[in-house]
Amino acid sequence: DTSLAEVNSFSSSMPISPSSMINQYKFEDGPELRDLFITVDDPESHITAIETFITYRVATKTSRGEFDSSEYEVRRRYQDFLWLKSKLEEAHPTLIIPPLPEKFIMKGMVERFSDEFIETRRKALHKFLNRIADHPTLTFNEDFKIFLTAQAWELSSHKKQGPSLLTRMGQTVRAVTSSVRGAVKNRPGMFTEMNDYMETFSQKINLLDKIAHRIYKEERDYFNEMKEYGPIHTLWSASEEDIADSLKGIANCIDRCCKATEKRMAGLSENLLPILHEYVLYSDILMGVLKRRDQIQGELDSKIDALANKKTEKDLFSEEIGKLEDKVERANNALKVDWDRWKQNMQCDMRSTFINVAENNLRFYEECLATWESFLASQTVDLHVEEDSEDRP
């Protein structure tokens, strides 16, 4: 697969680990079926008189006919991703649009433009675009294509064409109020189930996110104490003769276990933490999708109620109602299909992530076990040697 090899040579400034590459391409469509490959890398800082911002390189390779070329390279900033997301939500209100990394991270002590922050964001943006590419409907969205292919100035002029900010805000307000007003009573049972599910899921995933962060913190605190623990044994060995080797051996074991702990922590922060975070964001997204579906239904219901009170213009209303009924049916079907797809992916993600956590811990314990066992073997060898020499006359 040539695209993989070339990606590695592009991002010399940012090593992409083999395991994360595999993660990135582990979507429901196997690599053989994909015809759109996207990478996000090479963050660059831009300083203007007004602001400082980061752009990322978005590189695309495709064999699709709709694309004029087979390779594209553009630079995008976070704002552009936000724009894409809102366009997708607009075009497909009841589809599940993948999560974007947040604007700011409140909890972590990460500075706005620290390397760690930028790298975390880059990975999340990469995942965002690839998830869209894998989505059976979203992948063919026109704005998505423009996002991947247009030069900076082309994108700016295209952006200005959509509905204004005010109209978009108005839509959001309407969505919120109509979902409160009566949409719930006519909601098909399936969507009530989804709503109930999402409320519990959201709660649990948020808890898991907190737990995972707690574990990371405890492991880091443990690591910090362990760093001091090994060297004391080395210090002690300096004033001893007979047991100096044993003490140095223990110091060595502790230091190796310390390094293994570091690896374990890295595993958490590379895998479990980002995934749980994404699903925390997903739970908000899904609640939003359900609300929008309710709002669409609400439009239909209020029109139907209005028809019941109308004496004249019934035909016009019936036509409108017919259109709205179609809209509701389309929205419901789209959501149903996308929901099933999301649940499958979620199950897959959770399974592989937690398996990864278990494997991480297994690697950790196996490494520590090997270290201590080899120390023990060295000590018992010494004992046998001592005993043998005592036996000699």
């Binding site: 599910y197 519990t200 899921f201 649990k204 808890l207 898991l208 737990i211 707690r214 574990i215 405890e218 492991e219 605190d221 443990y222 910090n224 104490e225 362990m226 001091e228 623990y229 004391i232 044994h233 210090l235 002690w236 004033s239 007979d242 047991i243 044993s246 003490l247 051996g249 223990i250 074991c253 276990c257 199950q347 959770m350 399974r351 937690f354 398996i355 956590v357 278990a358 494997e359 811990n361 297994l362 950790f364 314990y365 196996e366 520590c368 076990l369 201590w372 066992e373 120390f375 023990l376 000590q379 018992t380």
Partner: protein, 402 residues
């Protein structure tokens, strides 16, 4: 090993009991009493089961015994007692003396102390020690009657000697250095170990939260539910496993603590040597000055300044009879002094010889015990790793079924 008490007598500290009583100032207090059981070993080999003798002792009586032994055998590295108050605790352990875990570890420590004394070639033959084990009533009075407190050197005297001694045996100076280093490094190690234990506890226990949340989450999942639920159970097992692991580690810490306290016993022997050496140096100095006085009196020359000399110059010389009397006294004192110096020298040499023999014995014991302790620590770590592997293997299987 010579025929020591430990071979003839089985000694255990088998129980601990909370008691209340009135102390010396007639104030109500709570304390712990420990049951010491002894049984003769010989009769066992004949196929008979010897009767078990037992008596109760409290910690302060152990302290009295140890003080007696330290004063009576200053050339011996006397085994230390387990700590009086819980030290180097990490958050889960309580620092309360009445805490059952602390009492249990102290019981083991006291038993260890008695076994150490009973297997020491010199100490095991002591009558007071034997009575401690076998005679409940009147033991305290017996100890006090030995008058050992009078033989004890004052702290001030010892400190004085440490600073003023001119020619201590180099080996003892080195030993003092070593015991200082040993004490410092073991306390540092124990402090950090306690902090590491605390952090490790945190890591394991937080995983317990997974159990609860997985269980609640499994309720809304059809396909993932079973996998989640059973994985959660293993997380609970994981979280619970740390309690036993850390309890075992406390015993390891106690083994190190014993040698932390042994450092003090080593220093006590060094201090005694310094005292004796200082005493010797002072006696030699005194003898030299007396000899000089004698010479001055005999020859009539005043080589050194003395008040007597000045006053006699001012108020007139002494009569020949007075001088004669003085000389006689001085000569007697010089003879006494020389004998004392000879015996002190002998004492000093014996002390160094005997002390050094015990120190060699101690060194071998220390190297053996510490090596064993370090090996046991490795064994504990191996066991912890194996448990971890088992739990996470099970968890991985459950996750695979999600």
């Amino acid at each position: 090993m010579e025929d020591c008490l430990a071979k003839k007598l089985e000694i255990t500290v088998s129980e601990a009991e909370k008691r209340t009583g009135r102390n010396a100032m007639n104030i109500q207090e709570t304390y712990t009493a420990y049951l010491i059981e002894t049984r003769a070993v010989e009769s066992q080999s004949e196929g008979q089961c010897a009767p078990v003798d037992s008596l109760w002792r409290r910690y302060s009586e152990f302290e009295l015994l140890r003080n007696y032994l330290s004063v009576t055998y200053p050339h011996i590295v006397v085994p230390p007692l387990p700590e009086k108050r819980a030290d180097f605790v990490w958050h889960k352990l309580s620092a309360d003396n009445m805490d059952p875990d602390f009492v249990e570890r102290r019981r083991i420590g006291l038993e260890n102390f008695l076994l150490r004394v009973a297997s020491h070639p010199v100490l095991c033959q002591d009558k007071i020690f034997y009575s401690f084990l076998t005679q409940e009533g009147g033991w305290k009075e017996m100890v006090n009657e030995t008058g050992f407190q009078l033989k004890a050197d004052s702290r001030l005297k010892a400190l004085n000697a440490t600073f003023r001694v001119k020619n201590p045996d180099k080996r003892f100076t080195e030993l003092k250095h070593y015991s200082d280093e040993l004490q410092s490094v073991i306390s540092h190690l124990l402090r950090v170990r306690a902090r590491v234990a605390d952090r490790l506890y945190g890591v394991y226990k937080v995983h317990g939260n997974y159990g609860r949340v997985f269980s609640e989450w499994s309720a809304i999942e059809k396909e993932m539910g079973d996998g989640l639920q059973s994985a959660g159970h293993h997380m609970d097992v994981y979280a619970a496993s740390i309690d036993d692991i850390l309890e075992e580690e406390e015993h390891y810490a106690d083994q190190l603590k014993e040698y932390l306290f042994y450092a003090e016993a080593l220093r006590a022997v060094c201090r005694k040597h310094e005292l004796m050496q200082y005493d010797l140096e002072m006696a030699a100095q005194d003898l030299t000055s007396k000899k000089q006085q004698c010479e001055e009196l005999a020859t009539g020359t005043v080589r050194t300044f003395s008040l007597k000399g000045m006053t006699s110059k001012l108020f007139g010389q002494e009569t020949p009879e007075q001088r004669e009397a003085k000389l006689k006294i001085l000569e007697e004192q010089i003879q006494e002094g020389e004998e004392q110096l000879k015996s002190k020298n002998l004492e000093g040499r014996d002390f160094v010889k005997n002390a050094w023999a015990d120190i060699e014995r101690f060194k071998e014991q220390k190297n053996h015990d510490l090596k064993e302790a370090l090996i046991s620590y490795a064994v504990m770590q191996i066991s912890m790793c194996k448990k971890g592997i088992q739990v996470w293997t099970n968890a991985k299987e459950c996750f695979s079924k999600m």
